[in-house]
Symmetry: C2
Subunit: 101 residues, 2 copies
DNA sequence: TTAAATATATCGTATAACCGATATATATAA
DNA sequence: TTATATATATCGGTTATACGATATATTTAA
């Protein structure tokens, strides 16, 4: 995901960051939970080399807070992350209007 | 878009091919009409260097028929293209379940 | 205390979307 | 007939996604 998600969120070159933001908006999760949820939806597990760099991008963009408990890190959306998701969702829905039944 | 869209359609590395398939499922269009429709949805016009290679990919995958009339080419979904779209849509909806309001 | 399992993270590489610039062909206007 | 506009197409280069392999840290099991 591009760092400029606020302005251009949906250049649609990969939707992983967007999906992670969306999933975390439902409830805080750690990496393995995110991995599980994506596996359920896509039918295939994202490799760690895909998932964690994407999480890192979101964190560096200021969209995620982390809380470390032992070996797990629970990720939460920051206010900025919530705002970014709102903007991205609006654009997503506009672009794919009519695709959902 | 990957040539193997049937099996893996939604690797989500770019959604342009998927969007074009979807738009053509609504009605046959030529390149400039597709460009217009994408501009309306994304708020930005795709460059010819983006649009036409993507159309070419879909054509080479056997998803599009073309009918040339003068300088314009009208694109239509082939049966294979319709099938690919059906599969892709199903996966898309599964992955992004809950994103649409 | 050591071994195995789990969770997070990084690295190098490959792939493909995407763009800007440019090219070609057809149609229309002057 | 020539010039301009339109539609399609290609090329080179950039960028971000994504993967496999590997590394590190923590926890649990033996």
């Amino acid at each position: 995901m591009n760092i400029k998600m606020d302005e251009e969120c949906c250049d649609m070159r990969g939707m992983l960051g967007f999906l992670i933001l969306f999933l975390l908006s439902k409830k805080p999760m750690h990496g393995q939970e995110i991995s599980e949820e994506i596996t359920k939806r896509k039918g295939e597990r994202p490799s760690p080399g895909t998932l964690y760099p994407s999480i890192k991008n979101l964190r560096e963009a200021g969209f995620l807070d982390e809380k470390k408990e032992g070996k797990t890190i629970t990720y939460t959306l920051t206010p900025s992350g919530k705002k970014a998701l709102t903007i991205a969702k609006r654009k997503f829905c506009q672009i794919f209007l009519g695709v959902f039944p």
